[in-house]
C-alpha cells in the first residue's frame, strides 16, 4: 500500500480504490447500473453546488444564496482484499459538469449510458469525457421493445469515434453490467499498452 498517509496498519487491510464515473440522462438507468453489481444497497449522497461552482469560499452570511443539490448514487464492488471499485452515478446535464469534473479527477474511466429514447441526452457527457481524455464506453440501455436498435445506428447518431466501445446492455442484469465494465477496463488496458493514456 503506497500513498502519502499509509498510517493505517494491521487488520483489516485498507484497500486501494478504483473509481468509475457513470453518466447518463434523466431516467437512463444510472442508479440501476450502479446498484446491480454493488455489494451494498443504494448508497446515496448529495453535493451542494456552491463553492467551486459559484466561486464562493465562505458561505457565512450568504444563507439566501441560490444553491442546487446534486444527487450521487454510488456502488461498491470488492474485487479482492486489496482492490475495491466504486461506481459513481452522476446526472447528465451540462450544468452538472462541475460534478463530472470532480468525479473524473483520478478516475479510471467512465460509462455513458445512452437511452435510445433520448439519445441527445448523452451528447454533453460524451463531449466532456472526450475533451477530458478520460477513457469511456457507451452502454446503450435496452428498454423493453427497444432492442431493435442496432449498435451501429446508435454509434452514427451519437457521432462516436470508432475506437469508443459501444454495446447494448440491460442495466438490471449482472452479466450485462459486468460486460460493460470489462469493456471499459479492456479499453484502458489497450490505451495503457499503446502508451496512449491522457493525463490523469
Amino acid at each position: 500500500m503506497a500513498g502519502p498517509w499509509t498510517v493505517v496498519e494491521g487488520d483489516p487491510p485498507v484497500p486501494d480504490t478504483l473509481k468509475i464515473v457513470v453518466a447518463g440522462g434523466f431516467g437512463a438507468g444510472k442508479t440501476t447500473l450502479v446498484s446491480t453489481l454493488s455489494e451494498v444497497e443504494s448508497l446515496h449522497t448529495e453535493e451542494i453546488m456552491t463553492s467551486r461552482s459559484v466561486g464562493v469560499d465562505d458561505l457565512a452570511g450568504v444563507e439566501d444564496k441560490t444553491t442546487t443539490t446534486v444527487a450521487l448514487d454510488f456502488g461498491r464492488i470488492t474485487l479482492d482484499a486489496s482492490t475495491v471499485v466504486y461506481l459513481f452515478g452522476t446526472p447528465g446535464q451540462r450544468r452538472f459538469s462541475y460534478m463530472w469534473e470532480e468525479l473524473s479527477q483520478g478516475a479510471l474511466g467512465a460509462i455513458v449510458i445512452a437511452d435510445t429514447r433520448r439519445l441527445a441526452d448523452s451528447f454533453d457527457s460524451i463531449d466532456f469525457f472526450e475533451s477530458r481524455r478520460l477513457p469511456f464506453v457507451v452502454a446503450v440501455n435496452c428498454f423493453d421493445g427497444q432492442r431493435t436498435h442496432r449498435a451501429e445506428d446508435v454509434r452514427v447518431a451519437l457521432d462516436l469515434a470508432e475506437e469508443v466501445p459501444l454495446s447494448l446492455c440491460d442495466a438490471r442484469d449482472r452479466e450485462s453490467v459486468k460486460g460493460v465494465l470489462v469493456e471499459l477496463v479492456e479499453l484502458v488496458l489497450r490505451l495503457e499498452l499503446a502508451g496512449a493514456q491522457g493525463p490523469l
Binding site: 434523466f26 453535493e47 451542494i48 463553492s51 444553491t67 443539490t69 474485487l79 479527477q105 470489462v182
Partner: protein, 121 residues
C-alpha cells in the same frame, strides 16, 4: 430526491444550512481527500466534547470506509463532510489512505487482475 425532479428550478433557501456546521467554510483544510479515500477513526483519541456531527462521523468510520460512504451514512452533503473530515484529520482523530491510482494510472498487470476480478464476480 433525484436531481432531475428539480430540473429547471434550483432549490433555494435552507440547503445551505449544513454549511453552518463548518462555520460557513466550503473548502476543506486539505485537498487530498477524495470521494474514494479510505478513512478510519483513531480509537485512542476519544471523542469527548466533540460536536454531535463529528461524533457521528467518527462512529461511522470506526472501520475503514470511503469518504463517500461516510457522507452517505452520516447524511451530510459531500462538501460539508469533507470540511469536517479534514478537521478531524488535522486533529489526528482520523487517518486516511488515498489510493495511489488517484495519482497515477494503474499499470497493465493491475488492469489485468482487475479484469480477472470483474469476470469472477
Amino acid at each position: 430526491m433525484s436531481a432531475y425532479e428539480e430540473d429547471d428550478r434550483s432549490v433555494e433557501s435552507n440547503l445551505i444550512r449544513p454549511y453552518s456546521l463548518t462555520g460557513g467554510r466550503t473548502r476543506p483544510s486539505r485537498g487530498d481527500l477524495t470521494v474514494t479515500s479510505q478513512v478510519v477513526a483513531v480509537p485512542s483519541m476519544g471523542s469527548a466534547d466533540l460536536d454531535p456531527e463529528l461524533e457521528l462521523i467518527l462512529s461511522v468510520c470506526a472501520r475503514p470506509v470511503s469518504v463517500a460512504e461516510v457522507a452517505s451514512r452520516a447524511g451530510l452533503p459531500l462538501g460539508v463532510l469533507r470540511v469536517l473530515l479534514s478537521d478531524l484529520l488535522d486533529q489526528g482523530r482520523v487517518v486516511a489512505h488515498t489510493s495511489p491510482w488517484e495519482h497515477r494510472r494503474p499499470d497493465a498487470d493491475t488492469l489485468r487482475s482487475v479484469l480477472d476480478g470483474i469476470r469472477r464476480l
